[in-house]
Each structure stands twice: as C-alpha cells, then as structure tokens.
C-alpha cells in the first residue's frame, strides 16, 4: 500500500535521517520542538520545511493558514465568507469575552477558513478548520460558512476539499449549534446530488458533531496518520463502559480497519493524492 508508507525510510547510508526535500541550514540557537512520538528535538525551520511532520512520521498540528499554504497552489487561494462570525445568540455567560481572547490569540475570527483555490492546477472550493480557535468547535458561524461554501460550490460546479479538525458542536451556542449539523448535511447532500465531488480530510482531532455530520459525508474520505477520529470522546467512553479501551482506539488506523475511511494519506503526499483525485473527477477528463 503506497499510501501507507509514510515513514521516511532511509534508502542508503547517506540518508540515515530519512529523505528530506532539501538540506536546511540550521542555526545553533534556533528554537526547537520535541516530538511527542520519538522524543527527539526538531528545529522549527526543519519542521516547517517538512510540512510540520517529524522524520519519525509524527504529524504535528497545523494552523488553518499553514495548511492552505502547503496544500494549495501558490497565490491561488481566495478567501470567501470571511465576514461571518459568531454572535452570542443565547447570551451564554463568558462567551463574548472568550471569543475576544480566542480571536486575539489565534488571529482568526472563526474556527473555519473557506475559499476557492487551485490544487495541482485544478480549481476547487476548500475549507480548513482551525484547531487553535476553540478547538474547531462548530457554532452558527462555522455552520453558516461551510453551508455557504457548499452552496457556492454547487452553483459554480466545483468540487469541495475540506480539512476537518473539531472538538464537536459549540456548547456556548446551544441548540443552534446542533442545528448546524442538519444544515451542513443538507448542503452537502444537495452538492452531492448535483453530481459533484466532496473529499473530507480528517485530521487530529475530528470528533463529536462534526464527525456525525459533514466529516463522514464525503464521496472519498481521507485521514491523516494517527489522527483521533470519533463521535464520543475516548475518556467518556472509558468512563461509561468502565472497560479498558483497545489499543489505537479512535485513531485513523482504527477507522480504516473498521471501514470508515477510504485511505490514510500522510501529509507530504496529500497534495499529489488530492491532485490525482481532482483530475479523475474533472469534467474535462479524458475519454477512452
């Protein structure tokens, strides 16, 4: 399975560190991050050049803008619906203040970035959820942006690529958050019924209301290696069932084994895989 060979295996003695895109000059005093998997320090510039993955194969989290930068063609991304942001419909205690802090810290106004872009020369609509914004939780604004994107894609007959990261529905918008699951599902369904392609890419973590709506409604569902994907949180499952969780429970590999994702695609091959898929589903594809 070529898609699964994500570890950078050295081919010969000269490539002990694994295959890298290009040798990178490292300063002695450069900040480093320690990989939680192999426990080795990795300089930030090198991490960045390697799509935020460690040579051991561990995928660090990325911001939505970083992802857009690495997955879309240079200068092709045009942001849509960026003016939509959450109100406080329930007057939920502390929500407005929390939003202000989160906006300032993340530099985003909502937990998803939507737009049109080209990937490998193929036009598509793309949404990328932001884990640094209230853990990508879905409130009315996120639901509205994703729904609007699917409607836009349907009108313009474009495929949709969607990177999901989410802790679930946003509690602070109560029942209105829950309704976003139905609303986005309706838009996905209409887009799908129009014969158009939708590929969600599930990244760490994709849980709750997002898993139970548009994350699982793709034609082809891809996932990043080792990403946590599930409906109920693992801790809650453990508390409720009082049973030890199986090894690798709710990982992308677990879902692949049980038949709920089509393929696990490591980050450095995502662009080429998406390009191929967009090419295969392009209306101007070749004839036999």
């Amino acid at each position: 399975m070529p898609l699964l060979s994500f570890t950078h295996r050295p081919q010969n003695e000269l490539e002990k560190e694994g295959r890298m895109a290009a040798p990178i000059q490292e300063d002695a005093g450069e900040p480093e991050k320690t990989c939680p998997n192999c426990r080795k320090p990795i300089p930030l510039s090198r991490l960045w050049a390697n799509h935020n993955t460690c040579p051991c194969g561990y995928h660090f989290r990325m911001t939505a803008r970083q992802r857009i930068h690495f997955i879309t063609d240079k200068d092709s991304f045009f942001e849509l619906f960026c003016g939509i942001k959450a109100a406080d419909p329930l007057n939920f205690p502390g929500y407005t203040q929390k939003m202000e802090t989160v906006c300032a810290a993340s530099g985003e106004v909502e937990a998803v970035v939507c737009g049109i872009a080209a990937i490998g020369g193929y036009d598509c609509c793309i949404f990328v959820m932001e884990s640094y914004f209230m853990m990508g939780s879905m409130g009315t604004a996120v639901g509205e942006k994703i729904t609007s994107l699917f409607e836009f894609a349907q009108q313009n007959r474009l495929p949709v690529i969607g990177y999901t990261v989410s802790g679930g529905a946003r509690m602070q918008e109560g029942i209105l958050s829950l309704m976003q699951m139905a609303k986005t599902s309706g838009a996905v369904k209409r887009h799908s019924d129009a014969g158009l392609l939708y590929i969600p890419v599930l990244t760490d973590p994709t849980t709750g209301g997002v898993t139970a709506s548009f994350a699982m409604e793709g034609d082809i569902i891809l996932a990043e290696p080792r990403a946590t994907i599930g409906f109920a949180g693992a801790r809650i499952v453990e508390q409720t069932t009082r049973k030890p969780l199986p090894r690798g429970f709710q990982t992308a590999e677990f879902l692949l084994e049980h038949g709920f994702v089509d393929a696990i695609v490591p980050r450095h091959t995502q662009k080429s895989v998406l390009t191929k898929l967009l090419k295969m589903h392009h209306p101007m594809r070749g004839t036999a």
């Binding site: 509205e144 529905a169 829950l178 139970a212 109920a232 199986p246 049980h258």
Partner: protein, 277 residues
C-alpha cells in the same frame, strides 16, 4: 410555580413519563414492529414499524427507553447504537418507496457511547441519517417526548415539523456535561441547564420547533387523541406541499446568525437605536 430549566430536565428524564411505545399504542392502530438494519443486528433502543393513523398508513419510528430495570438494560436506556439509526434509515427509505409519511418520537439522552458503537461508526450512522432525511420525498414529523440529547436525537429529527412536549428538553450537551466542561463541577448542572436554553419554550423562541404540545392529561386517551388530530391535520398540509423538500432545506438553512431573534425584535432594536442617539 414556574419550573426552572433543570426541573424540566428532571421531569423529561422521569421514570413515570410515557415512553415511545406508549405513544405508538395511544395514537396508531395495527402497529407492526419491523426489526433489523439488514447489515448487522437489531437495536432494541429504536422501535420502528408500520401502522395506521386513522386510515392512513404511516411509518413510525420511536426511541424507547423501557420501563423495568431489565427492559431498560435491554434497550440501553434509550441510547441507540449505529444499528438502530441504520434500521431507522432503512425503514425511512422504505416509507419513501411506498409514499408513507414518517412519524418519529424522540426520547434519548444521546446516542450510545461505547467501544462497539464507535467501532461500528456511530458518527457515520448519524451523519448518513441527517443527509438522507433532508431529501426523503415524504412528509416527516418528529415529536420530542422527553429528552432530546444532541446528535443522537437530531438523527431522527430532520423533519418538516418538529414538536416538543411541554416538559421535553432539546440540547446540544447534557447540563451535567456542560457544567463539567465550564466549571469542572457536574453539580452545577442546574445553572448550566439555564444557560443552555434547552426547554420547549426556548426552542420555540429560537424557531427550532413549530409548536409546543400541552401535557394536560398526559398519558390518557384524550392526550393521544389531541396529538393524533394534530398529526392528521399537519400531514394534510404537508401532503399538499409541492415544495416539501425545498421548505425542509430552508427550515434548517435559516438557523444561523441571520435569524438571530434579538435582531428581529423591533422593541429591542428601538432601544438600542435610542441609546445611540
């Protein structure tokens, strides 16, 4: 005395409330339960089948919590597994084929939370229901009779008309769960319940439901007769609707920032403008 939101949560969870099967017995005739998802198993938390509503054949789907301790365990306390949602979907598609309206009774604290449920794709099962129900070309009416817990409840409530019983609740998270996340203290559930706006009156205010069903004579024949008449009347209206699916899509499409009821309220708007001047 006015009941607080948490009082209503307790009433909605009450053991003596009529359950899904009581509603089926009270409202329909000739109910025949149909079992199994045709993929793996049969989930006892969802009771579904065909029945007559007066002379009209309908498909009925209800989440059933059970009465006795033994029955409750068997029905996993009304928390459906993915197989339950797949059974519901199978029978809803069957209803579409035979042009039968679908009536759902929702009463769950949430979809079942377990290792098997996750391995069998709880999220995927709910997602598929949400997506498919949006374009099922027959009228769908959902009634929340007790607890409406999150995605597990919504998976049977993507409908043309959604009603709630007077003391039913509908929420994205349990008040205990919310209190635990917000204040790390599940005992503050009463406060959380008030913040979540989960009562039927709140749901009506936010336009989540069309109407509240009175609980006068709850569980008695007059109570079921009232619901039956309401269903017959609404099905008449929906059966005549040439834009059924468009209207269903719009019903859910509108839940966003555009319909923030605070902005619609003219009295409040005036005061805001007044203060600016």
């Amino acid at each position: 005395m006015n009941k607080t939101a948490y009082d209503k949560v307790k009433i909605a969870r009450g053991n003596d409330r009529p359950t899904g099967l009581d509603f089926i017995r009270g409202i329909f005739t000739d109910f025949l339960e149909l079992h199994g998802d045709r993929r793996y198993s049969d989930d006892a938390a969802i009771v579904a089948g065909v029945a007559f509503l007066n002379s009209l054949p309908v498909t009925v789907i209800a989440i059933e919590k059970g009465r006795s301790a033994k029955e409750r365990t068997l029905r996993s306390f009304g928390s459906p597994n993915p197989e339950g949602y797949r059974k519901a979907l199978r029978l809803m598609k069957q209803a579409e084929k035979f042009k039968r309206p679908i009536i759902c009774f929702v009463d769950t604290s949430g979809a079942y939370c377990g290792i098997e449920a996750e391995a069998h794709g709880q999220g995927q099962a709910i997602a598929e229901n949400l997506m498919t129900m949006m374009t099922l070309n027959v009228p769908i009416i959902s009634i929340l009779i007790g607890e409406g817990g999150s995605g597990g409840a919504l998976a049977l409530a993507v409908a043309d008309r959604v009603y709630m019983l007077e003391n039913a609740v509908y929420s994205v998270i349990s008040p205990e769960g919310c209190a635990n996340i917000l204040w790390k203290d599940p005992s503050k559930a009463a406060q959380a319940a008030a913040c979540l706006k989960l009562t039927a009156q709140d749901a009506l205010y936010y336009g989540i439901i069309e109407d509240i069903l009175s609980e006068t004579n709850l569980g008695e024949s007059t109570f079921y007769q009232r619901i039956k008449e309401k269903l017959l009347h609404e099905l008449d209206v929906l059966n005549m609707d040439p834009k059924l699916l468009d209207n269903r899509y719009k019903r859910f499409r509108k839940f966003g920032m555009q319909n923030d009821p605070k902005e619609k309220d003219p009295a409040e708007k005036d005061t805001i403008q007044g203060s600016v001047e």
